[in-house]
Symmetry: C2
Subunit: 437 residues, 2 copies
């Protein structure tokens, strides 16, 4: 039996989950691995608050250096969140010879490369399974059992909040605002839901996955990102009629030495395994040149699922310690893939526009699309309901729904700008990728 | 750069896939891990046959001891299949200080415990990710990232052949025989399909998963196993009307210190993630006390997906070698879980019977069910079509379809025997488990 002393930074939701998983499954972990894992210190700026977990006397500390520079601590678990001060704490811990386990996607997406190098230099480990998709063992799988593959493509439902909202819009016919309200009530969305609904959270996770899968740096801010707030019941109805479901997808693909990526709502064929991922669940669908299609499905957030991944990493690090081996210093994050990051690339896209309900509009739109060699796969025109009090003989508006054949996204953007400049349409209201069968 | 010399036993489908994966992804593996993995010997009893892979001069040998007892070989990869002589070869390799990677589910299910002990005694590793669900990294995940969990339940579509057949019956309205023929044409089913369609292949895989997940021995022959050959279009139609899909499930569950398990066709609610696993794909759905529900989906067979898992294991073993560490001797297979294996347990079941079309039959059936405290959830009675030439006034038969409320499987079996003895029904034609939402 080897005793492993863990110092934890933060005792919020994930900290409480991690504490509970370690307590609840202590016997099982000891029996399977011979590891006696003890949380001996917790950095907690507010020890007076009740955290709902039974932390023994003397474990809480308000001085972070009691952990970062404590020679008795073997592993530091960072669960504060946000880039700073978390990133500085992790750096200090690594420099003091401690391996670090973190659930912090923002830190890994922003500083992963630098921190991985510091870990290498100090012969310690940096692990972050919980940073992407909570309890789903996607990082472990990519960096161990699937390492024999060259990956071609990945598509993920990486954000539970947006998946919950889109599921409720589809299944219960709620508006975006109503579904967001329901997500907030159930605790799946923050009071300020921006990071989730605008896709920033998913972009952080996608950036980490791109490093693991393709070995390149794709900073979150450079990943084209569109949120779900423009998704309407019109889009939902159209998708349903055409046998699609709307999912917020984080996608990346390699083609001819370039990596294309985007975070965007997308139309997913109902028969695709990603279409069955409902409510707050996450999934990653990826394609390797040996293993072909794989999908991982599970809970991407929450105290216990995230705690499961944190404790999994702690066990992984501890197993290495115990035998005094640093074999696994192969950096998980890689930036030597020799590929270029190249934006969103090409694909099939769905576009919803509003146009004046008058003759010739469709002709002008298709002419401009033709200049850009964009072909139309499907077009549906619907009259818009008049606003209350509006004269029924006033000139109305029409909704135009298109699916374009495969084209470069930047060419589509250019064509849509020209269509708007031409005043052929009043507005372009939603653009979504269409996933192939 | 560390050179790892691999000796491979067998160059059939999986051997060819393993060879191809290693050749095709050699550069990627070298770049990510620093490992130069070379297949230096292949045991091939028929070197005159064309295997469709470009094996260099001098690599083939017809003497298995050229590999098992060769001091230059670091890792032995066993891809012969079947319990013997594969099991003896693995034993000899381990005793000669070589780590072994195998894709052989029959060997691991039958001799895993003994072989794991021999590996421990000789400080070498025994890995078998490819033995369960081909390319899906289920064993790695359970024994590393998910080790922090106590698992409550697992349900798997572990056999691609039966899933393909059931999918074609459902989607194209084929009979069992027609769908089996199509599977054979496409190479998804053997000329003798018994091991697949009767569930023996799935029982081997389930036995391995039970050891990993629950830490007990459940020999395949002791797992209640029912095949798919009784599944008819009547069952398919009923399932579809009731919003189920029929899947061949391997299931295991812990309750009060007992582990229940069975392999059987089952009714899966269409909204359940397992229901969307179509054609030859496999999936494992499992529930941990921290991570909650997880599903792994992918290709469970085929040269390249299985080769992906074999090479993943070779890399895993080689990484340990390189650093001269044996930290990972924690046995993956466990038999110290302190639980009892207790057969199939209880659940909701679907039963299809044929009965004479005459008054009182349903009353007699329900009376006998009542004696056993079995309640009926759903019952549907349908007239059977007369055979050609049969008088339309001859006494006919009726098909009775039941879903029972939760009951012990052995009690249901007893009740069905009495119903048959009573001659209340002519035959009991199919029994399937009903999966909860």
């Amino acid at each position: 039996m080897a005793t492993i002393k863990v110092g934890m930074l933060g005792i919020g939701t994930v900290g409480q989950g991690t504490f509970r998983v370690l307590t609840m499954n202590y016997d099982k972990i000891l029996a399977s691995t011979g590891l006696d894992i003890q949380i001996t210190k917790i950095y907690n700026r507010h020890p007076e608050l009740d955290r709902g977990v039974d932390v023994p006397e003397g474990v809480y500390t308000t001085d972070v250096n009691d952990i970062l520079k404590n020679p008795d601590i073997d592993i530091v678990v960072e669960l504060i969140g946000g880039v700073e001060p978390a990133s500085t704490f992790i750096k200090t811990a690594l420099e003091n010879g401690k391996s670090v386990v973190t659930a912090n996607k923002a830190v890994i997406a922003a500083r992963g490369q630098e921190l991985a190098q510091i870990a290498m230099d100090h012969h310690v480990l940096l692990r972050f399974e919980a940073a992407v998709c909570g309890g789903i063992p996607i990082i472990t799988s990519i960096t161990t059992a699937l390492l024999s593959n060259h990956f071609e493509e990945l598509q993920g439902i990486l954000n539970g909040t947006t998946n919950f909202i889109l599921t409720k819009m589809e299944e219960e016919g709620l508006s975006y605002q109503e579904a967001l309200g329901m997500a907030q009530e159930k605790g799946f969305a923050e009071a300020d839901p921006t990071a989730d609904v605008d896709g920033l959270d998913a972009a952080n996770k996608l950036s980490i996955l791109i490093s693991l899968v393709f070995g390149i740096s794709a900073p979150p801010a450079q990943i084209p990102t569109r949120g779900i707030s423009n998704v309407s019941s019109i889009d939902m109805d159209f998708a349903s009629e055409m046998d699609f479901r709307i999912k917020m997808l984080a996608s990346a693909k390699e083609e001819n030495g370039k990596v294309y990526a985007a975070v965007s709502p997308a139309l997913v064929p109902v028969d695709h395994p990603l279409a069955s991922v409902a409510n707050e669940f996450n999934a990653v669908f990826l394609t390797g040149n040996a293993v072909d299609d794989l999908m991982f499905y599970g809970r991407g957030a929450g105290a216990m699922p995230t705690g499961s991944a944190v404790v999994g990493d702690v066990i992984g690090v501890a197993r290495k310690f115990e035998k005094d081996s640093d074999y696994d210093l192969v950096p998980q994050l890689r930036y030597d893939g020799g590929l270029d990051f190249a934006g969103e690339g090409s694909g099939r896209y769905y576009v919803r526009m509003t146009a004046p309900d008058q003759p010739g509009v469709l002709g002008r739109i298709t002419t401009i699309l033709g200049w850009h060699n964009i072909s139309i796969d499907t077009v549906v025109q619907r009259p818009q309901k008049k606003a209350k009090g509006q004269s029924s003989t006033a000139p109305g508006s029409a909704t135009l729904l298109f699916i374009f054949q495969k084209a470069e996204k930047k060419v589509i953007d250019r064509a849509l700008s020209e269509i708007l400049l031409d005043k052929a349409v009043t507005s372009v209201e939603n653009v979504m990728r269409v996933v192939e069968e």
